[in-house]
Symmetry: C2
Subunit: 314 residues, 2 copies
């Protein structure tokens, strides 16, 4: 499939084109430049919702429940599970197959995991690119799901229009959540597995955290939803909170600001990636010889960085 | 304390100077440049061991047990817990206080959490800087502990001389570990809480993963140690494996290569950070206006990145 044809098919929501485009994103393919140029005028329509939380809180179950909620409201949904997966285990694909079963015959649902095979920083442009593809393909809602412990992963979920931070009782998750800096990105908290012991104390901890945070009077105060996603309990309430947050963003100008911020991160990541390749890793590259000097104590890292920059400017 | 005096005190291992220097790292202080220049000739002596694993596997308990093991062998130890903490919860400091109790009166032990308040990429230079400070302060062993789920966090632990990936039974951790791409960085696997149900199946899963990975004949095959850190069981075996890996690195030239790689990441992170500030975030900056165009669909992210780069070159 040549690129103009791929773009044309993408814009019609063709599933094979979608799968191919996201694989190109995973691989950092040079064709992305042309694809993104073709998609740009057709983006900015989807509503993007991020889900993040520690392993074991039930992120997949929750996103699946939210997919059902969106479908019940007549909305088409794409799910992007950002999974810093090892190419070696194929874990992401297996997860997809399991999750696809429920929605396999529904043309209004598309679920895809995206592995990240790149270096540090790879996720910063890959995730926005994939969201851009799904947005241009015409989905009403795009859910992006990340493991909410790492810095990069939390930031990706935090770049959604609305970010949901998932907790679960008895795993020290609410504390972990706070530690991972997810509090700052949470628009909505959801306590999943709320039928388990410890749900009340998780709720209490979260309430305290929300209360402790200073905010202006007109600022959004993250609500906390108790749910049991596997039994579809609390999912309608979660959906209502998501709607309320989106309405808040739209009325207050926050939506445009969030989308600018997302674009800024995306453009910055591309710029830094292009610069990274100019710096020169590999034998004889400026970075390589600088690193050798630093490792052997002959130069400090800042003096080495200055040398690399001088080479870049030359 | 002026900077030359701080450096002098650091090199003598003064605790107040250490605390101050790591706070300067956390804050990205401009004094770091002069400090790093002063420390450079005195680095490269400490043996750096990384610990990573999902929340709940017992990282703190394990590092504490390893601290005891090192002390029993007459080695001085520093622990750096890299914690993408919210400034708002103070979780890191609380953790330190709890953990310090055991070793509070031991002058051969220093434990410090480091929060990361910066943007994406902040951890990439902050963690190596802090390791450099502890190395120059004369510790024989420096343990760096990260939450092993995020891309950035896994990469930091992976930049140690020896990286230990911790798992625990019954949490789906070994699978999560593989998903997070930690397999590639593991030099040693440790199954903590090995007295719990499911320890054998965790061991089996890990064995399969290790076996599946292609490696050259002379390449290190990560051993798997079963342990109950809270009862000090398996800790001596873990220490032996750490020694064996370090000997392997020293004999095969791998140690110099790892240290070059660590320096390369550190220098690259500084270069990219300097470039990031040149790009211009803020009203009227090249990045800001590019982001606006992208958010509003008038330009694709690559065309926007080209504009930013042109501005940078001008």
């Amino acid at each position: 499939m040549d690129t103009p044809r791929l773009v044309e098919k993408l814009l019609r929501g063709d599933r094979r084109a979608l799968a191919r485009a996201i694989t190109l994103v995973e691989n950092g393919s040079p064709e992305l430049r042309e694809i993104m140029a073709g998609l740009a005028p057709h983006t900015g329509r989807a509503r993007i919702i991020g889900f993040t939380g520690s392993p074991g809180v039930g992120k997949s179950t929750t996103t699946n429940a939210v997919v059902r909620a969106a479908r019940a409201r007549g909305l088409s949904v794409a799910v992007l599970a950002v999974d810093p997966s090892s190419p070696f285990t194929g874990g992401a694909l297996l997860g997809d197959r399991v999750r696809m079963q429920e929605h396999a015959t529904d043309p209004g649902v598309y679920i895809r995991s995206m592995a990240n095979r790149g270096h540090l920083g790879g996720l910063s442009w890959a995730a926005p690119h994939a969201l851009r593809v799904l947005d241009a393909a015409g989905f009403d809602v795009v859910l992006v799901e990340t493991v909410g412990v790492g810095q990069a992963e939390v930031e990706i979920a935090g770049q959604a229009d609305t970010t949901v931070v998932l907790c679960a009782p008895g795993m020290g998750d609410s504390v972990q959540a706070a530690k991972a800096g997810v509090l700052e990105v949470a628009d909505v908290f959801a306590v999943n597995k709320a039928d388990r012991e410890g749900a009340k104390s998780t709720l209490r901890e979260l309430r305290q955290m929300v209360a402790m945070k200073d905010r202006a009077d007109d600022e959004w105060k993250p609500p906390i939803v108790m749910m049991v996603a596997v039994h579809d309990e609390g999912v309608d309430e979660l959906w209502e909170r998501l709607d309320a947050h989106f309405a808040h963003l739209e009325s207050g100008g926050g939506l445009a600001e969030r989308r600018r911020r997302r674009a800024r991160e995306e453009v910055q990541a591309i710029v830094l990636d292009l610069l990274r390749s100019r710096i020169g890793v590999g034998d004889g590259g400026a970075l390589e010889s600088a690193a050798r000097d630093v490792a052997e104590g002959r130069r400090d890292p800042y003096a080495a960085a200055d040398l690399v920059l001088k080479e870049l400017d030359a």
